[in-house]
Each structure stands twice: as C-alpha cells, then as structure tokens.
Amino acid sequence: MSLVRTEAESPSNPGPPSDSASVRERLRNAETVLWHRGTFVAAVLPFLGLAFAITVVAIKGWPAILVNGTHFFTGSTWQPGSTYGSTVYPHGVATPQGASYGAWPLILGTVQSSAIALILAVPISIGAAIALTERLPRSIARPANFAVELLAGIPSVLFGLWGILTLGPLLARDVYPHIASIMPDVPVLNFFNSPTGHGEGLFTSGIVLAIMIVPIITATTVELFRQVPSLNQEGARALGMTDAEVTHSVTIPWVRNGIIGASILGLARALGETIAIAMISGAILGHTAQNIYSPMTTIAATIVSQLDSSFTDATGFATATLAEAALVLAVISVVVNVIARFIVHRTGKLGGPVGRG
C-alpha cells in the first residue's frame, strides 16, 4: 500500500506547495518528503552493503579462482606450500611453491552435516509445530513456546561449547558404539560402522546443527499453521475426522510449500554455521569423512580457523583461496535462501488473506 501521494513521490516535484498553503502545511509536506528521501537512503544501504561484500570477496578471490581452477571443486589436498621456499607464478599469480588447494572435503562436509541436520530437524519440527498448535493445554504451550524461542536465541558458540563438552563425549561413549554394532556391513549403512571416534565429527555436528535449526523451522511452521483457515479445519472435524486426519488431509496440504520453504531456510542457516562447527567438527583439513563419526570440516569452519594462519603466506595466495571459499559459501547460501524465501512468500500470499478476513 502506498501511503505517499503521487505528487510527493517524484523527487523533482516535492509536494504541492500552493500559494495559499499555510506554513504549517508546507512543513508537513516537507516532513513527508523528508521521510520519503531518508527512508529511501536507508533502503539503498543494504543493497550497497551486499554489493560491497560480494565485490570484496570476488576481487580478493580472483587470483585463487585463476590458479586453483576446477581442481578447487574436485581436489582434496589443502597444501599451503612452502612458505619460505621460492615463489612461482602460475597464470601470473604469485604463489608459494607447492601450494595446492582443493575444497572438495570442505564442500562435502558442509553438504553432509547440513543434510544430517535437515533429515533430523524437519520431522521433529513439523511434529513439534503440530503439537504446539493443536489443542495443547495452555500451561504446557506457553513454556514450550518460550523454550523454542530460547533455543532460537542461544548464541551458536554456546551450542559449540555444549556440543564439545557435554553432548559429544556422551554420544561417543553411550550411543555411537551401539549404533555401530547393530549396523550391517552393507553399502550406505556401513557408513555407520566403527570406528566411532571421540564425539568430535560429522554426526555430532549434524545433531547440533539440527538442534540449531529446529526452532527456525518450528516457528515458521507454527506461523503457517495459524494461517490455515479454521473453517476448513472445523468442517473437517465436523465430518468426523480425527486430529490426525485433519492434519494430514487439511492442514498439511494447505501449507506444504511453506513447510518446504521453512526447511530450506533452516538448511541455509546450517550451511553457513561457523563457530559451533569449528568447535565440534574435529576441524580436519584435506580429508573427507570416512564414516559418519569421523572428524570433518566445513567451508565456514575452515575460513574461521585458517584465516589467522593464512597470513603467514607472504604472497597472499592462502588468503585469496579463503576468499574463493567464502565466495563459494556465499553463493550456495544465497541461492538456497532465495529459493526458500520465494517459496515462503508464494505460500504466504496464498494462505494469508483467507485466514485473517
């Protein structure tokens, strides 16, 4: 809805100050124009910030993109090269001799940990959202809502601290060995076979990521469920459907796209998570996970753990490579986010007006 009248909108024609207009009215029109221009500047700033960020990462990463080539996406070595050795100039870029960077383990680790998180989080979130919206006694619903909000607000470094000190050791001692012992040695499932490690690794990271994205998906899904017109649900109940049947054949179909969008939003968060993963993943470079318990790393965790030491490379190539990694991560996250927001928006428009009346 446009609040501002059309005359005030074009900057070349600021308001209609007719001769008879009182000073007061002119001031008020001036205020309108001021609001318009001031807020426009504010609205342009995020755009400029985004352009700035992408430009910086792209410029800084350009030499690495030239030298690393496609090997960056397929290779598994992470070799800074000889820092005190001679400098070589492939593609005219100064690099330490022996430098070779392949980000495949980072990319795979990012995808694997986020996939585990998503597989665990989506069913739990949908179930919890149903429980929160369907006939839960107020004395339970209020604290439960508070807990979901709290979970969403806990800083990721605390998830990391809890994961590395409490959850990881517990899982490695009491849970992983049992999972490993019951899993048969067949393809796919042998990914769950031992060694089970010390609790720092892919599975623990995935579980903690799942806990981190559960509140995002739950909150969005609850919001979507509230938009489902109550007439349809009541009608279904009047036809004699049970809660399960109403949820299955009325509520869920109404918001299906929205739930997909919410899940992808959670996925985007998991892909970009840094500090918690840097603490829990075991932060191993140059190796892909051998089984689901092995140490791994992600793009984000590698950037945060390697940026310091990248400056020992006087040619700046290590930093350039990290910039390339950051660019890859940014592109992945942005694409995933845009898809999610597109889906959520479309559903919001479908479901919104009907319920509110």
């Binding site: 001021l34 910030g49 807990a147 601290l161």
Partner: protein, 295 residues
C-alpha cells in the same frame, strides 16, 4: 479444497489407534525440541555455577574477570542498536510504506527488497571475512570497534527491516484512512499514528537483532579482535573485548582459571538471552492487552 472421505470408511479402532500414535508422535517431537533447550541451558548453568564468583563482574580479563568483555559487548550492542536500528527502521518503513507507483520505481523497490533478503542469507563468517579484508587490513583500521559495528550492522539490518515491514503491514487500514480523513499529511500520519501502532513489533525486532549482535562470534573474531583491558570508545585502532570470545577461545585451555572464565562467559550470555526474551514477551503481552481495550 476437496476432502477425501475414505477416512470414516476405515474400521473404527484403527482410526483411534492412528490418532493415538499421531498424538504420541507429535508430543514426542515436541519433547525432542524441549529437552535440548533445557539440557543446554542447565548444562551451561550447572557447569558455571560451582566456580562462579561475582568478582568476575568487577575485574578485567587481565585480572581473571570478564568486566571488560561485558562492557565491550554492551558498547557493541548499543552501537549496533544505533546504526542498524536507524538503517533497518528506515529501510523497513520505505519497503512497507513508500512503495513507488511508477513501474520503474517498483522495479527499483523490488531490487532493494531482494537485496535486503539476500543480505540476510549471507553467512556471518563471509561478512566477517569481508570486514577483515576490507576494513581491518584494507583501510588499516586494525581490530577495532568501527569494523565490528559495520559488519554486525550489515548482519542485523535485514532482520530489523523485515520486523519493521511486517509490523507496519499489520497496522489496520482504518488507522491510515482515519488519519487521511483527518487531513494529516502522510509524513505526519506516519510519525503520529502508524509508527506508534507498529512500535511494539519494531521493538521486538530490535531486541532480536540485539540478541544476534550480542551472541555472534565468527564475524567479531576478525573485526573486533580481543582485549584483556577495558575497551575504549575509540572507533579505530583499539581492540574491543566481547563476551563470546572467552567461550570460544578459553574452553580448551589447559589452565582451570581460563576454562572457568569460559563457562562464566557462557552463563552471562545465557542470562542475557533469557532477559531479552522476557522483556520482548512483556512488550508483546502489554500491547495485546492495550489492543484488546482499544477494540
């Protein structure tokens, strides 16, 4: 909407059983959400409490406390509230209220809206990297307050803008029509009627942004640095301490005192988040009461 009516045709007890399983499954899922929440909070609190002493609040890290980190986090949050609050509020107002009528203007608005949403999707470590490369190193600002504020603001402006836009969209149309019927200029109506009505929602969005700013680690590591002395208000050239750093850097140190400091910082962060949540709850509850009276 079409309804398939195969459900009543099934035998009765099977439907009752499936209903019970459904109920149990959803409650189980809810439990799986609540247990980690309680576990994390209790785990951190119980780890910190046995060694906690209030001297932590009154000594700097150079003397085994966290006073500098608390003050630093406070400065960072106030700075973010001022910078990101202004920009986010403005951007939200523009996107909600000032949408253009011309086709070209609408395209620009769409671009700005998309950019805001895309910025929300950029991982914080990427923004931290940008801050480090461009501001800390590139502009020779060093680890300091200004790059930290700029990068954190870039992170939270989209949230504030979105919260502002959403709560402005929920202002009843009757209010706008009433304001216009009374002859208020649009800018005047915005300030006196519309923003006033939307204020609780905007405030909640601001609190969420503060929670993010206070709880971030990755972008601060390479923009604010760390300092075991009290922070200054100097914008550049002085490293700023903040609460998440000790958690991240000290938890695996060999010395007990440093590890306890890590747990203490975690405890303070938990208290801070719970406080923010309760405050935002109170704001929402109070507004709902007022809204009921008005109706």
């Amino acid at each position: 909407m079409t309804f398939t009516l195969e459900a009543p045709a099934r035998p009765r007890h099977r439907r009752r059983v499936s209903q019970m399983i459904f109920r149990a499954a959803t409650l189980f899922a809810l439990g799986l959400v609540l247990i980690p929440a309680i576990w994390i909070v209790l785990g951190i609190v119980l780890r910190a409490i046995p060694h906690f002493s209030f001297s932590v609040l009154t000594h700097t890290s150079a003397h085994g406390g966290l006073e500098n980190a608390i003050v630093g986090s406070f400065i960072i949050m106030v700075g973010v509230a001022i910078i990101a609050g202004t920009i986010g509020l403005g951007a939200g107002i523009y996107l909600a209220e000032m949408s253009a009528t011309s086709q070209r203007g609408q395209r620009v608005d769409g671009l700005l809206r998309t950019a805001t949403e895309v910025l929300a999707g950029v991982p914080s470590i990427v923004l931290g990297f940008v801050g480090y490369i461009a501001l800390v190193v590139g502009l020779h600002w060093g680890y300091s307050l200004l790059p930290a504020l700029i990068i954190l603001s870039m992170m939270v402006v989209p949230y504030i803008a979105k919260a502002t836009e959403n709560s402005l969209a929920q202002v009843p149309t009757a209010y706008r029509e009433g304001a216009e019927a009374l002859g208020m200029a649009p800018g005047y109506a915005l300030r006196h009627v519309i923003l006033k009505t939307a204020l609780p929602g905007i405030t909640t969005g601001l609190l969420v942004a503060l929670a993010i700013a206070g709880g971030e680690t990755a972008p601060l590591l390479y923009t604010a640095g760390w300092n075991d002395q009290m922070p200054t208000l100097a914008l550049t050239g002085h490293q700023v301490p903040y609460l998440t750093y000790p958690v991240w850097a000290f938890y695996n140190q060999p010395s007990n005192s440093l590890r306890y400091l890590s747990y203490d910082a975690a405890l303070i962060l938990i208290v801070f988040i719970v406080t923010l949540l309760v405050v935002s709850r109170i704001i929402v509850a109070r507004t709902q009461r007022h809204a009921d009276i008005r109706r």
